[in-house]
Each structure stands twice: as structure tokens, then as C-alpha cells.
Symmetry: C2
Subunit: 326 residues, 2 copies
Amino acid sequence: MEKKVISAKDVAKLANVSQSTVSRVFTSGASVSEKSRKKVLKVADELNYRPNALARGLIKQKTNMVGLAMKDIQNPFYHEVLGMFTQKLKEKGFSVLFVYTENEEIEQEEINNFLEYNVEGIIVTDALLSSKVVTKLHNNNIPVILFNRYHKDINCDSVSCDNINAASEIAGYIYDEGYRDIVFITGKSNTSTSRDRQKGFTDFLKHKGIDITILEGDYSYEESYHLTETMIENGHQPEVIFGANDVTAIGALDALKAMSISVPEEVSVIGFDDIKMSSWPSYMLSTWAQPIEEMINETINLLLTNSKHKETLKLKGHFIHRNTTK
Amino acid sequence: MEKKVISAKDVAKLANVSQSTVSRVFTSGASVSEKSRKKVLKVADELNYRPNALARGLIKQKTNMVGLAMKDIQNPFYHEVLGMFTQKLKEKGFSVLFVYTENEEIEQEEINNFLEYNVEGIIVTDALLSSKVVTKLHNNNIPVILFNRYHKDINCDSVSCDNINAASEIAGYIYDEGYRDIVFITGKSNTSTSRDRQKGFTDFLKHKGIDITILEGDYSYEESYHLTETMIENGHQPEVIFGANDVTAIGALDALKAMSISVPEEVSVIGFDDIKMSSWPSYMLSTWAQPIEEMINETINLLLTNSKHKETLKLKGHFIHRNTTK
DNA sequence: CTGAAAGCGCTTACAG
DNA sequence: CTGAAAGCGCTTACAG
């Protein structure tokens, strides 16, 4: 309370220059004499002066803030994503305004919050926006990018892994290995990731005349564990289980272990994401590595470009063979 | 670009009132006639107007933003913490400016960033601040709260679990069970959590005349797995292993399982944190539950109070008996 | 290179 | 209850 925050005016007074000059010293590209610059910098340092980002944002209509909204904060995949996003955005000079939502769809309210703070762009990972909200954002000329999700009714940029092709390649691998009794454990049915992985996987195998067993999961470890356990108890022991993501596959893996079924000798297990846990000694899960870094770079690119023409990027990634497949 | 963002002035013009009145409509407690309020609200809705938080922050010297800095984003414990913080802060009307740092100590730069945006307070989880930085923040009258960390040389609020007492209670339980060959796997040595848990644990047992084996870990699964494996290979199979956190305990647990040592029959394992994973069917880890919600509530309280008198809160938590102890 | 001045979009005494 | 005006802390033409 007592010590008021110091402003450019205070610095100007002490440095014997105008406030404009102080401002110029902190504006890259502005022309200031070396003498003035030194004087100002010295005083600024003594006073611990830093330009007020709010005032700057107000006048420049550029806040250097990006809104980041996440949902499934429990999935380790998104922790890596969160960490990498904040770091890469920082490198580009952006701060992140973070929102965590438990709802399937980002609320109008969260978006309004972003808008009030004049964020320069919004990144939404693993949650959806209504197309109405997206339109509104576009009218305000604020780029929105869906990360790891897309929706055909929503006209906005999106970046994800090419889930269909990846799952199709996994199916090819499984087919070549000669497996015919195959199980797919889905994620949440309303996610594009789960739907696409299921589609790429089943379509490939259907072409080969193979029908697979679909177990409806929800991307949680617990549900996947339970589904696998029940299936085995009911006498169905498949040759291979493909989980819609790593957490799902790990749930299945643990259930098999608990029932003393050896992996990969009796049952193979494959996941998707390549989260850190997948390479833990006790799992060594074979999985599909999403190209996280590339995905994040592309997302930030789209954010900075903010072109009228919306893109739906699908990046490849690659299969990682560990110990849960032969 | 074309559609410029609309301001209170635009609304005022269309609603036939002054800009002040528009502002009053959006200021709770301000007196506006019902008639004006309705008119303004109607126009505002049509134009999709929302007050600019930057301008408001500038003039009120109150931004409703809180800085949150995290480090060990890999530990699931902090995901729960992050999610709960953002939700509870939202309830109180705050937005969070998020920073992720890989360094042990929060950088001056990150703090400056917070300061430039005039955050109303800073929460630091599992990282440290130099006392110089803290002093500077206090001079600016910005509250800083260390979450799950404290440091005697740093005079600022902190909230954590009473790690010493908790570990002491765990030691008591172990002692009562009759175990005498006891191992403690530490976390990172420069964290107050690991040091306190070690202290509470060893001090209690030393009093009883028991020396325990200390294995120097780093809070990572991999290191803990490796340490346990090596210990067993070297012929030392203790009666109980206490890990400085759940991830550590789980690493030990998996190593034991991999070596076909049955838990808890041959070796008991205990963790600390009660992360979600600990209650997975394949782990069912006995652990100490940190009172996360209470810790977060207290942290936000301290933030809002911002009293001159700094507190070091230590909350209790409780032991959870699952399947890795008898 | 530099200063005075206008203006970003608000809030809030002040006067009525 | 309401409007005109000052001011939050900046940036940026404008003129010199």
C-alpha cells in the first residue's frame, strides 16, 4: 500500500527526460540517443521500474497473452502438452492465461474471460467449443486453435495426430503378425481422437475380413482395467488388445498381469500417446508416439499467422515397439 | 481487424446514456436506475459488449489475476493441485497467469513477467524463490505464497502438509508392526518435503534405537525402481520401504513385483501424497493423504488476506491403509 | 533525437 | 440517478 508502484513518469523525472523518452527506451526499435538510454536504464534499474503490461496492452491492442483451456488434466499426455506450451509460448514472448474446465464444452464464460483480457489467441486442448462461440471469436478476429481435437461443424484451425492413419498402421502391424482375435478399447465416444482411432483400426481390419471386439471405455484406467478383467472372466482371452490411449492400455495391461496372463506371450497390448509412464520398466508399453513438439509448434504457428483460411493439420507420429508386443 | 472491438462509448451512444452510466451498469454496487440498466444491458448484449479487463485493471489497480508458478509438472500430485487451484481461484473471481519453470528456483524473469501484468498475488508450488525476490515482491505489496514448500531463510507465507509429524506417525505405525529392517527412499535433497519426511521418520525410529537405511532418490519413478532393484540384488531385502512420495513408492513397488517379491507379505511399501494412481487396482498403495483441498483453501485465504505477518501453515492429513501394508 | 499532447477503455469523485 | 472530466500508465504521430 505505502510503496506505490513506480511509473515511467517517476523515471522520467529522475532521469531528466520526458516520459516519452522513457517509453522509447523500453520500446524496441524506437530511436533514443545512447546517452538518454543509459540515463534512463540506470534510473529504471535503481527504481526497479518495469513498464506496465496492462497499459501497454491497452494502447497497442496487443497484450502478449494467450488463453489456454484444458480439460482432461488427469491424463499425463496433457501435462507434457501443458509444460511444452507454456515454454514455447514464453519463447515467443507470450504469457498464458490458463483455464481448467471440467465440462465437455468450454463455457461461454471462460471464453468471455479470455476476451475481457484481450488475449491474442485461444488454444483449446481436448475440449470443444460450440460453433457459435467460435464464430463470435472470429468476428473479434481472435484465432482459436483446437489441439488434439477437431470437429467438422466447427470452422476453426485444429492440430492433431493423424489418428486414422496411425490406427490403420497399427492394425496393419497386428494383421501381419497373424493375430485374428482382436480387441479395441475405446476412449470417450464423443472425442474425435477415440472415434478416429477406432475408425482407422476397424476399417483396415474389416477390409481384411476381420471383425474385432469393441469395448466401450472412457479413457480412464479404472474402466479399462474393469473391462479387461470382466472380459477375461467371461472366458474371452484375445490375442491382442489395442487401447485408445496409453492410460487405457495400461489399465488393460495391469488387469492382465493381475490375472497372471503373460504379456506379450499370451496377449499383446498396444497403446497410443507415448506418455512417460509407458516407458517405465514395469510397463514398457508398445505405443504410438504422437509428435507433440511438432504439434505444438504448428499450433503456435497458426496462432501467430491467424489466417482467414482455417486449417486442419494432421501430423504423423510413429510406432514404438517395446515389450508388450512380440 | 475490420470489426473493431466495441467499447463502453459505443454502447453509450446507442443506449443514449453517458459512458459513465454504461460503466456503472457493469460495476456492482453502483447506482443506476432500473430503466438505464435495462437499456444498457440490452444494447450491450446486442453488441456483445464486455468491459475491458485491462482498462479496468489499470484504473482500479486491481487486475483479478494471480500468478501461479509450477515446476515438477510430471508429478501427478501437482496436476490435482493445478486443477483445484484454477477452479477455486475462478470461484473467487481470479484468472490465473500460469508459468512453468524447469529451474529449481523461480527466475527473476518469470516474476518480472507477473509484476508487469500486475498480478495480485503469486503462488509458487514446489519451486523456490530467492529471498531477494521475495523482499522485492513484499515491497511492491504483492503476496507470495509457497505451496508445499517452505524455507526458513525466506520470509513469506507458506502452506504445506506437516511432513515431519506425518512421517513420524508412519514411523510409529511401522514400529508398532514390529518391523526393524527399514528403508527410506528420499526425494530431491533440496526440497523441504523430502527433508522433513526423512527427519520425522528417522528421528522417531532413532529414539527407539533403530537405524534405518537411507537410499538417495530424486522423486522419480525410474531412480526409485533402480535403487530398489539394486538393493535387492545386493542381498538386502528389508521388511518395509517408505518412499518420500507416491511416485517413489510406486517405483519401489514395481521393482519388487518385477523381482517376484510379494507385497506386503515379504516387503511392505508406503508412499506419501495419495495421488490417484495410488488407488489403481494394481497398486493399492498405502500412503499418507495430503489434505490438498484444505491446503489450497488456506493458500487462497492467505493470498486474499495479504497480512504483514507471514505464516507457515502445516496441515495434518491422514494415513490411508491399502494393500501394500499388512 | 526529443517533448507535448492525444488517446487506449475504463472508474470514480464531483456537481447537479 | 447521471454526465462531464480527470486520470490509470502507457504508445505514438506530430512538430521541432
